[in-house]
Amino acid sequence: MAFLRHLLRKLGWYAAAFAAALGLNFFLPRMLPGNPVDTLVAASLGRGASSESKQRVYETYIHEFGLDQGLWEQFATYVGNVMRGDFGTSFSRYPADVSTMVADTLPWTILLQVPAVALGWIIGNLIGAVAAYRRGGFDRGVYLTSLFLSAAPYYCLAVLLLYGLAVALPLFPTGGGWSFGMRPEWSAAFAADALSHWFLPFLSLLLVFIGGQAIGMRSMAVYEIDADYVGFARSFDLPDRKIVAYIFRNGMLPQITGLALAIGTLVAGALLTEIVFSYPGIGTLLYDAILNKDYPVIQAVTLLVLIAVLAANFFVDVLYGLIDPRIRAAEKGER
């Protein structure tokens, strides 16, 4: 019951955040003075198009955005379209469907980010706990390395890795999702090829994430080490591995909150990593869309990222409510 109440209250907050996200996504780009379609049609069609096809494209967009209606009606149209998964038509690749463009690139981004986050979280926290427990030179080394990894922005590390391991030392392909001349298909040869392209961007995300998590866990675990239960366990000569496991469990909870708060930065940062490697995911799609002023694509990607971040936050919140007995107790009014 208490958990259900926790869940419902969180759901309310996320509904509000979602409404804010939708509003920002719709209203911010519309602060552009004048009729956006005029400038965009001129810019995206260029000189070559006949006036007839210009007129056709123009009417498509006017109708699509409902620009003949008031701003709030436009917003209602927009929300309705988004709910049906309709993000409109691309400017730069007219008449490609934006939803299809996003659907084609999304799996690549998911395959890149989810393993990096999951693995990075586990490895980073383990390293942080061990460093805090061991102290001394190992700790200093881990601390400085992690600080460096998390201080350097994602794309800087990506640039260095790309140059170091693909150009200077040609161990990996220099970018893209697969080799020239191949087509995405379900075959062992393509999977192996895609994996070799996937590895460097994955590694660069993984390293940054390990760094951030190790720092957080280390500063949590530093407090845990002075706790009575650690001294107690030590006096029994328990193996280090076991004591670190205890510290890990206690330091883990704030780290889950940290994960929830970091997810926004993480997802956005990972998109920039894709650009460096020309990885065929959402990030590269966004980059190309910005270069081509392809507003429908930009808005679809930003909305998708906003929704993904909110969903991930909500998931972590639910998880937190499930594993931390203190939250359940607080909801019951026991504390």
């Binding site: 907050w13 996320y14 509000a16 955040a17 804010a20 996200a21 920002l24 996504n25 911010l28 780009p29 519309r30 602060m31 552009l32 102290r135 001394g136 700790d139 601390y143 400085l144 600080l147 460096f148 998390s150 201080a151 350097a152 922005p153 794309y155 800087c156 640039v159 260095l160 790309l162 140059y163 693909a166 150009v167 200077a168 220099t174 970018g175 530093v222 407090y223 708060l261 926004g264 930065t265 997802v267 956005a268 940062g269 920039l272 650009i275 460096v276 966004l286 980059y287 910005i290 270069l291 002023k293 507003y295 930009i298 808005q299 930003t302 990222v305 906003l306 971040v309 909110l310 936050n313």
Partner: protein, 280 residues
């Protein structure tokens, strides 16, 4: 001062690196013999006697661009960091001191802003601006970066509010703004300084990320803009290491040194960490 003396040597190295970079941004553009946009040589000349740091895809000097880029990045960082800290401290103080409804409303807003990635909001703002001057960009970044500071300041103020000297001031009929200015904020100074360092760090990164996406300041160069062109013109795959290397190394050096200084300040100001310096 004793606390300063016991800081690890790396703090001073980091601070020195940061000061050196600031000096580069201040003096460099004055000392440089040419503007950042001037075409001075052939494209992609390697570093040598003519160009200390080589030239980029158009034949512009990387060194000249670098000193101007550092200046732009630092300017945006200072402006945005200052605004972000100001709004954050104001919102956090009001929420923490007033409590009740004001607290609920302000923190609700803050929590929503924290959940929405600021880079996405910045991106949406930037695509609606046709020309983005350095100042406008700094204002935009500052306007979206305050929620973290607001949340942290609110927590501090909410506990400071319970102190006796605050009660006395309130009972003797002091005005609210005077209580905040005289009884609360002076205790927060070290905290605010650290918040500012973090804001500065975040703002420099935000500018670099936006510029990398091609939404950087128009009509000037910055570290992110340099990186954007380096990637757009394939200098990484082409092996022209000086073109992408210079901005990459500088962005990393700025952010790493700022984080090191901040974590050392933290160990001085934060009493909970003070005893543990030998392990840090």
């Amino acid at each position: 001062m004793n606390a300063l003396r016991s800081l690890p040597a790396r703090t001073f190295i980091a601070a020195a690196v940061f000061v050196a970079i600031v000096a580069t941004g201040l003096i460099g553009p004055i000392a440089a013999s040419a503007g950042p946009e001037e075409l001075l040589g052939t494209a992609f000349t390697a570093p040598g006697a003519d160009f200390l740091l080589g030239t980029d895809h158009l034949g512009r000097s990387v060194g000249v661009q670098l000193v101007h880029g550092v200046r732009t990045s630092l300017y945006i960082g200072l402006l945005a960091g200052g605004i972000g800290t100001l709004i954050g401290v104001a919102v956090g103080t009001l929420a923490g001191y007033l409590g009740r409804l004001a607290d609920e409303v302000l923190m609700g807003l803050t929590n929503i802003m924290i959940t929405i990635p600021s880079i996405i909001v910045l991106l949406l703002l930037s695509i609606s601006l046709d020309t983005r001057s350095v100042t406008v960009l700094g204002l935009c970044i500052g306007a979206v970066s305050w929620p973290w500071t607001a949340r942290a300041v609110r927590a501090q103020i909410a506990s400071l509010r319970e102190r006796e000297h605050v009660d006395i001031a309130r009972l003797s009929g002091e005005r609210t703004w005077r209580i905040i200015g005289v009884e609360l904020l002076p205790y927060m100074l070290s905290y605010i300084v650290m918040a500012f360092v973090i804001q500065l760090y975040g703002a420099i990164l935000a500018e670099a990320a936006l510029s990398l996406l091609g939404l950087g300041p128009t009509g000037t160069t910055s570290l992110g803009v340099m990186l954007h062109w380096a990637i757009a013109w394939e200098s990484i795959r082409g092996g022209q290491w000086w073109v992408f290397g210079a901005p990459t190394v500088l962005i990393t050096a700025i952010t790493f040194s700022l984080l090191l200084v901040q974590s050392s300040l933290d160990s001085v100001f934060n009493p909970r960490l003070r005893g543990r310096k030998e392990t840090a």
